[in-house]
Symmetry: D2
Subunit: 436 residues, 4 copies
């Protein structure tokens, strides 16, 4: 009775062309894509929160709407009435500047508002936003709307990752969609490509056209040494070799905090997050269900600790974010957009590397870097309550780069900095090696 | 969009007459009542588990069905095929004799099976059960079916209490049903009724007609001293006087373990579970919503620690279960059934005492006793895996007596022993005083 | 450098004769025995608290002194100056009536006052007490002094059990004293002795001579059924048979809460507390060190859950406290004192049963009963702050009877009720079976 | 009875001259200083562990000895017999390469070995080491001995900080030593000194003379922008102004993880670790006892979160470690050693700034930087089990620079990198501001 197969990524294509659309059309495209992503869901799927980090889809749908209501409508539409005053508190994620927040770990303890009520909320806000967009929109307001859309795209990705966590931990292993992947061919042996050191520029010019987050700026000089970057991602097969070599049992391969996590009595690591051993054979859960592990696909859903241990085992290291960005821009023809296996491909799973040269920099999996998530020199946060968007998370997290198979293509840039705690595994995160 | 008011208790009336029905009709009546109780629910309400003890309605509906499938159909119907083999694990509550169980605190982390699938499961099992019941049913099988129905009635009560916990902790305070209660009149001042000590008999004769749980037997002698029992339950107003007298801040009134709970940093007690202070005025959440506290209604949703502290403050004590049973049977005309404010009244909330004499012994709220839940002398558990039904919980819990406003009337007896941990508050539990 | 062998129990003999001594001599005997028990200790042993329940010896020595200072000297000696005003807070165990308490789990985080300072504290208080005792002591004061002495005897027992927990969990397994036990002979096969039911009296007459705690009174009628009691304690060998029969892995043998404890990820039970398997052979730690397990000695340091599981496995049950008391008094020649392996024997370990008839009722190990620790009908706590002595613990605990090999003989009575949580194991607790 | 005043820092002077001594004399000087630091201790002070991070002095004394026994004596002295084979496990801190470790949080649960036994252990190992040092010592061995001495110096500092945590959390506030500080004069108003950006070199040349840890190398280029550094540390008075301005209650000043810590239900931050408000007046605990807060002294014992929040409030930021090192070396006359308020001053407390120019870079308090503790480009860990010394901690920690008032002067260098978690407060850690 749960409709399978509805999702094929095509619906995200409109949103993809964002940069060519006017703001109204962008608004409709992005807002619509959120609903499209939810189409295959049963009502029940919208509600639960299988761990503190993985919010219910219902919450995502409401929270991104809250963003427009609180930062745009309430501020800029005279006489605007909140859809439900209780929602200001319920759907505030972490904006202390706005007020108190409903506790994050309890988001899955709310059966009301129902999904239908959340959809009504979206409709109510959308109508008001459309009306607002019909008038002349000043740059400051346009900026906040654009920010709201990129914010919603981030939550589209989270919606997929959180849903995967829900379904992938259900003993019945239900699928989100039906997708027939042809067997991947074995990638070429891993090789390293050289890059020259010296002074490079990374980051985004604050005055640049198009959209960028505050944390990507300012553009600034960095000093690099010569380095090499692996030409593709590490595969399941390669990671299995690491495991078979005692990878998870050899403390000398691990950072101290990582070793503690590996040995955690309750949630110790023994394999990537969605690997399941059934009758002695490894399987992997993906959004189209549980299948035998494909050794040729990129390894996915691992923590930075596992990535780092793998790198040490392989006599390599993780790249810094500056190295990653320098390499990534070196292969982008100027003005071209990132191309790769993003959400629009409909795969919702990383794909095998094909061909040679610098592969898989975009999409497939987020690539852990060794760089702590820290302010660029001269960093200035967004103003007002929106200043809480990025800056306050600059502690204890690491930067990931390149987007994943559930990232909307129009959301990503070479300067884009994603960030998670080194022990986090529920994002589509994988390994690219580097060495001196 | 959530339908309110559908529930009015009338639908439980058929099931009430259970003892006069044949087994098939009983089966249909009880099974049907579970669905009726769920009618006002939104799909979302079926799914969540707001705390470890409060299981999702969906889980209750499936688990009671599992009981029939595992203990009846699989055992007695040759060639019977399980609806879904994964359910044996998913919906086993605590029967180690049957196998492993899905962890209780994670019941709210399952969006699948959906509600519709659970309803299909019920239909599948019901059809097989009806068929089974059409044939000659042997006594042993009849017993297990009857047990299954009483088991389902227990979960009907839990369904209400768990749902109340869900909705009552939602900041929006949604109602389960619409119910207009006329203002309660002030009860008569509390008075104590005397009962003579000596050797009495309590418990249930194992060979008695009708149904009884193993923990109610055997009937046996107890030696009581003369005692007095309060003629009615303690009211909200009386409990508020205790609170205003510093009840929650005076350690000398509390058992040591209770004082620890009162002062728990995270979940300390400061008032009954569903009392909410809004702008300095006390309100109480009930299944028909949040309303100003009615001082004349019985206090409800308190732990045994609070009941005990109140009793000490009032220079009284809680009754033992033997005292309670002796008193309760003394006012029952032989052969009469318990009469009171049970689930069939449609109130789903305790009512004020009216009149005089021994009031409110039945229904309204479960009455904490001072008796530890322990085996009666000569206790014999049910045989086989069903032996896990009651006996293994005979540690650390206290007995409650008399049923509540969400107990099906046909489920209760004067010998009925309910049991919860002294710190539990999410059941409809209240205070009856006793003294020497 | 740590002196071994100093303790041999002889020093407790003086205190044993307590009932024949005047109050001054009793005071000196009991206070002196506390110091004697500490003689073999290194300073370091006085300081640490290896778990929340096991307080440092230094704390015991100070707390029992605090009792006399706060309840006697401060109240009855005009102009008495506290030794150190900070001690009122530091050494208050749980008397809310006296004031705030230093948190129990942090008792082992205090290096000051030093042991020498605590000894000074004892000397200071002792001098004042001796002076007080030289004057005419009124009955109320005499009662409080006697209570203080029995209180100190309780802490003498705790001192041994807490110290055993410390040393027995040290990987070096240091001994408290040197003691050469000759190998125990195999006891006679277990047999059950019959006792007649009917109305019996248990408990202590409030007006009786000598000392008794409030929780032992009043003496009252109980109604018993015919029962049988095992003639001796369960041995290590018998318990090992239970283990070899899968005792710790068979859920059907366990109370639900016990099964949870057995399977606790951090501190699950797999054997009695001080059993250690070394190279495949069982050893037991005792206060004279680690030795191969003696199968003929009573099993010791088990929880009530383990005792209950063993009983179920053996088709028996634990006795109620009333059964125990009736049986124990039946074999005491009127007026005789309990005789058994108490602290005065110098063994500090349970001994094997010898002979026949009802053995080992006194000393060796505390015997778990199935009785919840609850007030006797008509129970009246001590008055004032001393009312917190016993009554407030009457929740969630079980009664143990008979004393142990570290109990001072003059401390025990047939009506004596000890109480611990069913999961506690660090006391010398063992198994006596009963059956209907 | 606890001897006060014995410590005055003079005894560390010999060790200070380390670089001019031969290895034997260095060994004796450093090993002796550990004992001198312990002289004022009562036996009891050696034993306890007031929190998981603060190990008992006894453990420190044994662990540094273990280092010499395991890495030097066992490896290089044929036929060497371990003092006690059990110590290999008991006193291993974190070297997985050596074997299992006794759990860190339980170090304070060991009363044995006694202090006297640990002193015997030191003597035993010292005698063997002296003998070893009398022979020709090869460079590789000399390196390990030197490492062992620097290791011991680190633990000398920890011994002071852990002891302060013990005594400073004792409600009696005992002092470690008597020290009369004259009242500090008010420092000059804070001013910022400019430093030029560009390519600088930091870190230590692997081939350089003298000792350095692996994490300080290799020396490498860094690219800095022009920056300014505060000429002195932030004072208690300045921090109090921040507090009075609502510093601990304004989320916009805090990193998200810091805000979580501030609001932790159990151990939330409301002031620096050793500040105590008594009758409305702020006091500060120091190793010479509790005294009224001196507003002119540097603020001390704060987390990086508090330092960062203060900096944000002051419109400044924390320096990077490269900025710090560039500034520090700019004011060192080549070849000169760091001079400041180190352990040798006998103060054991930070002192007020006097004069102008770049003050207090050395000693007083460790200065939090904004730099994550990460490998320098080209980092190579020590070989063998010693490779666990530094590298494996390169996650989630921040670098601190400059040493403190309990650091031995001969232990510090301009390239020295200390590291702690951003929430740690029990080290002598304070604030130096920077800005662009």
């Amino acid at each position: 009775m749960v409709r399978l197969g509805a999702y094929d990524g095509a619906q995200f294509q409109t949103a993809r062309a964002m940069s060519t659309l006017d703001l109204s059309s962008q608004y409709e495209a992005v807002r619509g894509a959120s609903l499209v992503a939810c189409e295959p869901l049963a009502i029940e799927d919208y509600v639960i929160q299988p761990m503190a980090d993985a919010s219910p889809p219902k919450w995502h749908l409401a929270h991104v709407t809250w963003f427009f209501e609180i930062f745009l409508l309430r501020e800029h539409v005279p006489g605007y009435e909140l859809f439900n005053p209780g929602f200001e508190y319920l759907f505030n994620s972490y904006y202390n500047g706005v007020g108190e927040q409903f506790p994050r770990p309890r988001r899955g303890q709310l059966s009301r508002p129902t999904v239908a009520e959340v959809m009504d909320y979206r409709g109510y806000v959308d109508r008001a936003m459309i009306k607002l967009l019909e008038k002349r929109v000043e740059p400051a307001m346009a900026f906040k709307i654009t920010l709201g859309l990129h914010h919603e795209q981030q939550h589209q990705e989270l919606l997929f990752t959180d849903l995967k966590y829900n379904l992938g931990n259900n003993p019945l292993f239900p699928a989100y969609h039906q997708f027939k992947r042809s067997a991947a061919r074995q990638p070429e042996p891993l090789s390293f490509l050289p890059f020259a050191g010296g002074i490079h520029q990374i980051g985004r010019d604050s005055g640049a056209e198009g959209f960028g987050y505050d944390n990507e700026s300012p553009r600034h000089d960095v000093l690099l040494r010569d380095f090499e970057l692996a030409d593709r991602l590490i595969t399941n097969g390669e990671f299995l070799t690491f495991m078979d070599d005692g990878g998870y049992r050899r403390p000398e391969l691990w950072l101290s905090d990582g070793w503690t996590r590996v040995n955690d009595a309750k949630s110790g690591f023994t394999a990537p997050l969605y690997w399941r051993q059934i009758d002695g054979k490894w399987h992997e859960y993906g959004l189209s269900g549980l299948t035998p592990l494909d050794l040729n696909l990129p390894v996915c859903h691992i923590s930075a600790y596992e990535a780092d241990a793998y790198a040490r085992w392989a006599n390599a290291r993780l790249p810094t974010e500056a190295e990653w960005e320098v390499a990534a821009t070196s292969v982008m023809t100027s003005g071209k957009e990132p191309a790769g296996n993003f959400v629009e491909s409909g795969q919702l799973h990383p794909l095998a590397s094909e061909g040679s040269g610098l592969q898989q920099m975009w999409g497939d999996v987020w690539e852990w870097t060794s760089s702590s998530y820290a302010p660029y020199p001269g960093f200035r946060p967004f103003s007002g309550a929106l200043g809480e968007y990025n800056g306050k998370f600059m502690a204890n997290q690491l930067v990931l780069r390149g987007g994943s198979c559930v990232t909307p293509a129009s959301h990503i840039r070479s300067t884009y900095r994603n960030f998670f705690y080194p022990g986090d595994r529920w994002q589509f995160s994988g390994i690219r090696l580097a060495r001196d």
